[in-house]
């Protein structure tokens, strides 16, 4: 076993702790006092024989003086004492004696400290998840609100004495409505948590993330949908393996739409268009018109074309990102809202009108991207129904900084964006001045 450069220091510490003079120890170990002095100051490497003799004189196992298990044990014990805090009274000056006399107990103590540290990390991770998982947080808040309302209302109704019939009717209606809401949110939460244990192990935070993870694992390509969608049944089986019901639903919805779009814009046509257009890709507006597809549908087809390298983000009318396929070098937010400067949001406010822009990612050097955004409108309920908006932004990495002219500096989300002078900043960056 190798000897540490600090073996001498440990010898000296041990000798001083025992209150023994150098000469006494040297004589007992059969070496000269000057030689021991050189060893103690790490100026001579000690041989195994001399070390064994010195360990015997000092009453400490040789392992404790060596580099390796003993020294690691001592270091771990010091860490355990530090983790427990200053007030615990651990006799740090007798740590070697403890490790030497009770190596089994010392090992147990270190193992327990490691376990505590592991559990603390797990608690931190769960706490972080609770804090950042918008679905879980919103569901719990919804549930708590309904419970609060039910409790207060039920208490009023249960009180002795008459209540005005109007108030009574109103409270009964509230109670009924809140109990329905409570049942719905409880059911949704249980379904979500049922699937989240495994998801937690995989680091998945939401059904959307699970669904996107499934697509990413397939390299964002679904060949089963091509050639008339013959492989759709096999894909449906694969979706059944997703952990949460919500992720399965998202995947089913995606597949249904992707199959329709594949039928209207077959792969052979798309590949021919790509070959003719070059890396910039074909004009999605022209293709949409030619193939009877919404522009966002063409963008989806392009983004999932193998080897094309397009990124794609899609948001609903609230600006919430409902789909994220990253382009190389263009980071997308995992949680929360995206950079408000993305052309995606300009398009959301100007439906049916293209928004194209050259983008540069803030703080990431000369990486340039060409972005094209478009927002489609739908009125599934006709004139009397609501208007739905779906905006998509196709992101294409541009080699070098050859796009010419000024590019729009954008970030991922305000929390991690280094751009200090951004007029659209929503909240301070967590990285502050350090960036």
């Amino acid at each position: 076993m190798p000897l540490s450069a600090l073996t001498g220091t440990r010898l000296r510490e041990r000798r001083l702790a025992l209150g023994l003079r150098q000469g006494v120890v040297a004589e007992a170990a059969g070496v000269s006092a000057s030689y021991l002095n050189l060893i103690e100051h790490n100026r001579r490497r000690v041989t195994e024989e001399v070390l064994a003799a010195l360990a015997g004189v000092l009453g400490v196992p040789v392992e404790v003086l060596r580099e390796g298990e003993g020294s690691t044990l001592l270091e771990d014990l010091r860490l355990a004492a530090a983790a427990a805090g200053e007030g615990t009274g651990a006799e740090l000056d007798r740590i070697e004696e403890f490790a030497g006399r009770f190596p089994g107990w010392a090992g147990t103590l270190v193992a327990l400290e490691r376990r505590v540290a592991g559990l603390e990390r797990a608690v931190e991770a769960l706490n972080d998840r609770m804090t950042h998982d918008p679905h879980l947080s919103a569901s719990l808040h919804e549930m708590l609100s309904a419970v609060s309302s039910v409790r207060s209302t039920a208490e009023i109704l249960a009180e002795p004495g008459e209540i005005d019939p109007d108030w009574q009717g109103r409270f009964l209606r509230n109670l009924f409505s809140d109990s329905e809401r409570l049942a719905a949110v409880s059911e949704a939460l249980v379904a979500y948590l049922d699937g989240s244990e495994q998801a937690g192990v995989q680091g998945i935070a939401s059904p959307q993330e699970e669904f996107e993870g499934w697509l990413a694992a397939r390299d964002w390509h679904l060949p089963e949908l091509e050639d008339g969608g013959a492989g759709l049944a096999a894909l449906s089986g694969e979706i059944g393996g997703l952990v949460s019901g919500a992720a399965r639903q998202l995947a089913r919805d995606w597949l249904r739409r992707a199959a329709e779009e594949a039928a209207r814009l077959p792969m052979a046509v798309l590949e021919a268009e790509m070959a003719a257009a070059g890396p910039a890709g074909p004009d999605p507006l022209r293709l949409a018109r030619a193939r009877g597809l919404p522009v966002t549908g063409v963008m989806r087809r392009l983004a999932l074309l193998p080897g094309a390298g397009f990124g794609l983000v899609i948001c609903d009318a609230s600006g919430t990102l409902v789909f994220r396929k990253p382009a190389e070098g263009f980071a997308l937010p995992r949680f929360g809202a995206a950079c408000p400067l993305w052309p995606l949001f300009a398009a959301l406010g100007r439906p049916m009108s293209p928004v194209a822009a050259d983008l540069a990612t803030a703080g990431r050097g000369a990486r340039r991207f060409a972005a094209l955004a478009w927002c489609d409108l739908q009125h599934p309920g006709g004139l009397a129904g609501v208007e739905l908006r779906e905006a998509a932004m196709l992101i294409r990495p541009v080699a070098g900084a050859a796009t010419g002219g000024e590019a729009l500096q954008v970030g991922t989300s305000c929390r991690i964006c280094p751009r200090r002078d951004c007029p659209a900043r929503r909240e301070p960056a967590i990285m502050g001045e350090a960036v």
Partner: protein, 122 residues
Amino acid sequence: MTSHVLLIEDEPHIAEAIRFILSRDGLTVSTFGDGSGAAEAVRKERPDLVILDLMLPGCSGLEILQAIRSDPATETTPVMMLTAKGQGRDREAAERAGVSHFMTKPFSNAEMLASVRALVGR
């Protein structure tokens, strides 16, 4: 003269229940369901007590509390904050900002009434 309570709560059924309980006890209750403009409403109405939900659309209860405490016209108005379990950090921040009392959801009506009475000095 009856005491005036301004209730800032976005959940209409909770607001309705609290309003009923307090009105029945002889208090005048006005409600505000949105975070935006809530601090301005406190300044205008000059209530004897503000009951403030922590999680509100538009502007958080914490921001409203800070606005109330930084306005000389309202800085001494008692503020009871409605919080949920698991909002420990927010509670600490509210304590630093000068909240008068916390009420954890779900609460009992008797508990709510007793706290309100104490805060308005009845």
